[in-house]
């Protein structure tokens, strides 16, 4: 899926604007890297209640594995798994993947159950810009659990073409 050639200048600027700054930062500073527009992670204050129906979500039990640096936002490999015995009375019902700054933030919702045996999903996602990706799992007791990971995207998925 080729990008519009007219976007080359924009993409090049984005690439050179991001890379050298990040290379110079200590790894701990990357999460606080300033971006134009809303702060990283701020999108979830509104997004998360839409997923959980307003119920609280706790960090924990969920693990999210995604590259810290994605050369190309068009296809970013991702693995999410949840600590769960996956038994009839204690299992994961669903896992939802969110990307706060994508034009459509809900990437995927996977429905699981005790017949899954293991609460793990692997896929490849599109990321429009550098951002924080979140995984939300609902367990069979109705509670919600989350994990998040920051991803730096050097070449965006050309979603908006604007």
């Amino acid at each position: 899926m080729a990008c519009d050639p007219a976007l080359n200048r924009r993409r090049w600027l984005r690439a050179v604007a991001g890379v050298p700054i990040v290379a110079a930062l200590p790894s701990g500073a990357r999460a606080q890297m300033p971006t134009a527009g809303p702060a990283i992670g701020s999108g979830y204050a509104k997004l998360l209640p839409e997923i959980t129906g307003g119920r609280p979500a706790r960090a924990g039990r969920v693990h999210l594995e995604i590259p810290e640096l994605a050369d190309n936002g068009l296809s970013v490999p991702l693995r999410v798994w949840v600590d769960s015995p996956m038994s009839a009375d204690d299992h994961v019902r669903s896992i939802t993947l969110l990307a706060e700054f994508n034009p459509r933030p809900v990437l995927l919702k996977a429905h699981l159950g005790p017949h899954s045996g293991r609460a793990q999903v692997v896929t490849r996602v599109r990321l429009a810009v550098s951002q924080r990706v979140m995984a939300v799992a609902q367990t069979s007791d109705g509670r919600y659990w989350t994990a998040q990971a920051d991803v730096l995207v050097t070449e965006s998925a050309c979603l908006d073409a604007s």
């Binding site: 519009d4 995927l108 996977a110 159950g113 017949h115 899954s116 996602v125 979603l159």
Partner: protein, 106 residues
């Protein structure tokens, strides 16, 4: 639509095994424009359902944030030998299906 499904050649009863599926599909986001500036309509596979042993064992609702040629990997607990059926549908209403045999030994 072409899809490739991979499951183990044989599994034992109760074993949790991995299922991998890759479907050839453009997953057009709906945010792109043609060279003349017309929007390209969204066309993504939005639902994938997997049945095995007389029940649905996996279902995914996909958004435009899933990469082109969607790939999914998940797990299923082996019950008895039989078919595992994958069904999916895209925004254009085009349906795809794939069936693999699950062989349970012991």
């Amino acid at each position: 639509m072409v899809a490739r499904v991979r499951v183990p050649a044989a599994v034992s009863g109760g074993e949790v095994f991995v299922v991998r599926i890759a479907i050839q599909h453009v997953m057009e986001t709906g945010f792109r424009l043609t060279d003349t500036g017309r929007p390209i309509p969204r066309n993504i596979i939005h639902t994938l359902a997997v049945r095995y042993g007389g029940r649905e064992v996996f279902r995914a609702e996909l958004g435009s944030g899933v990469a082109a040629n969607p790939y999914l990997e998940f797990h299923v607990r082996a019950q008895a030998s039989g078919p595992m059926v994958f069904d999916w549908v895209d925004d254009a209403g085009v349906r795809g299906s794939e069936t693999v045999a699950i062989t349970v030994s012991g």
